[in-house]
Amino acid sequence: MSGGDAMLEVSNISRSFGGVRALGGLSLSVAQGSITGLIGPNGAGKTTMFGVISGFVAPDTGSVTYRGADITREPAHLRARRGIARTFQIVQPFAGLSVGENIAVGSYLRHAKPSEARARAEAVARRVGLGAMLDQPASALTVSGRKRLELARALATEPDLLLLDEVLAGLNPSEIRDILPVIHDIRASGVTILMIEHVMQAVMALCDDIFVMAQGRMIAEGKPDAVCRDPQVIEAYLGHGAAARMQEAGNA
C-alpha cells in the first residue's frame, strides 16, 4: 500500500469493552479510488472497526485520519458531512417511513430543497433497483430490498468514502449477481469503498486490496490472491494446522 495517496489512515486503534479487548492496536489504510476489503472470521472485530471509522465507537488509543484531517474524536454526523457514509450489518431502516422518505433523509445532507432532495432520492433508488418501491413502507421490503435500501441511503449522502458492512450477507446467489454490478458502478463513479464481506467470491472479484483481521488484530494485508495463500489467513479461517494440510494436499 502506498501511503501517499491514502484517503483514510487508521493507525494503532485499540478498544476494550468491559475488560474484553475487541481491537488491539490495528492499522489500515484505504487508497483513493480503490475497493478495499476487510475480512476475517466472526468476532474478529470488523464491525467495531467500522464503528471507530464512522464515529459510532470511540477508540481507547490510536487515530483516524481522513484526507489529512484527524477525525478521531469527531461525532458521526460530522464525518458523514465530510463524505464518509456507512451501512449497517444489521439493517436499520426507518421502519415507519416509505422507501423514498428513507433515502431522502440521506439526500437532504447535500440538498436542502425538498424537491431536489426527493429527485435525488428517486435517482438513487433507481440506481440500486428500488425505483418501483418508492412509496412502499420500508417495513414491507424483503431482506434483499432492505440491503439495497441501506446502500441507497448511504449513496444518497453523495459520499467520497463508502463503508459497506456485509451488504451481501443473507442474499441468494442470483441476488448477489444483481448487486455486484451496482457496487462496480459506484466505484466507477469515483467513490472509494471499504467493505466488510464474508462472501469470498465477491471479495475476490471486487477488491483491489484486502486486510484480514482475527481476534482484534490485523493478521495480513495485500492483494487478494496473495492474501488467499497466506498461511496465517488460512489458519484463522479454517483452524490450527489447516495451512499445513492444504500444503500437503497441494503437493500430493
Binding site: 454526523h77 421502519a95 415507519g96 417511513l97 449522502t157
Partner: protein, 318 residues
Amino acid sequence: MKRSEWLFLVALLAALALVPLLASNLVINFLVTALIVALAALGWNILGGLGGQISFGHAAFFGTGAYVTELLQLRLGANAWAAAVAGIAAGALVGLAIGAAVFRARLRGSYFALVTLAFAEVLRILANALDVTGGASGLLLPLQPGAAHFQFDQRSVFAWIGIACVGAVLLLTRHMMNSRFGAHLAAVRENEDAARALGVDILATKLRAITLSAAITAAAGVFYVQYFLYLDANIGYGTWISIEALLAAIIGGVGTMAGPLIGALALHGLGELTRGFAGSITGIDLVIFGLLLVAAIAFAPAGIVGAWKRYVGGRRNA
C-alpha cells in the same frame, strides 16, 4: 399529506369559524377552550408525535407563556400584544433550556417523560410560592376591552383569533413535515443511529423540535390568559394541560397533522356530553378520557385520524 385531507381541514376550520355567528356564548366558550387545548396539543405533537419524544410536562411551556404575558402587563405595564410575543419567546426559551439539559444527558423514552414532568412541577411549586407570581392566590388581569389590549367584548373575536392561530400552526406543521427538518425529525424518531450515519445532528434536531413545540404550547398559554384573565400555579403549570395536550394529540392521531385539532374537539365534545348525562359528578369525563387513551394505544395507534383513514381505505378496496 393528500389534497383531500387538506381540503377537509380547510372545510373544518371554515365550519368552526361560522359557529360564533350562530351559537350562544356557552358554545363559543366551549369552542375557545377546545381551541386552546388544540393549540397546546399541536405544539405537543411536534415533539411527541413527529419527533417521538413523549413529554409529560408541556405545562412548563404553557404556564411560562401565560405567566410572562400576564406579568409583563401587570408589573411593567407592557402592551398586551408585545407581552404576548414575549410570552411565546419565553416559552420557547424554557423549551430550549430544558431540551439542552435533557437531550445532552441523552434521556429518552420514559426518562424523558418523567423528567419533563418534574420540570413542570418545579415551576408549579415556584409559581405557587413566589410573591411575584401572586403565590397561591393567583393573578387577575384587569378587564380592559379593546383590540390594543388583546381583549374583546365579543367572545367570537377570540374564537376567530383561535381558529386563525390553529390554521397558522397547521400550515407551519405542513411546511415543516415537508422540509429537511421534518425529514430529520422523522429519522430521529425512527432510528437515531441510522440518522447519525446519514449526517443528521441528533441534538440540534431535537432542540429545534422542543423549541418550536414549546413556542406553540406557550402561545396556547398566552391565549388562555388573555381570554380568562385569571391565572394561578395550578392552571398555568398544572398537570391538566400536560395531560390534555398529550391526550388530544394521541387520541386524535399522533404524528398526523390534523390529529391534535380533531382530538381536542372530540375530547371536549365528549366531555360536554358526559357532563350533560352524568350531571355534577366531577371526574367522570376524565375517567373516560383515561380509558380512551388505553383503548387508543391498544386498538388505534394512529388515533381517530388513523382509524378514519383505515375505514375509508377499507371501503375503497371493498
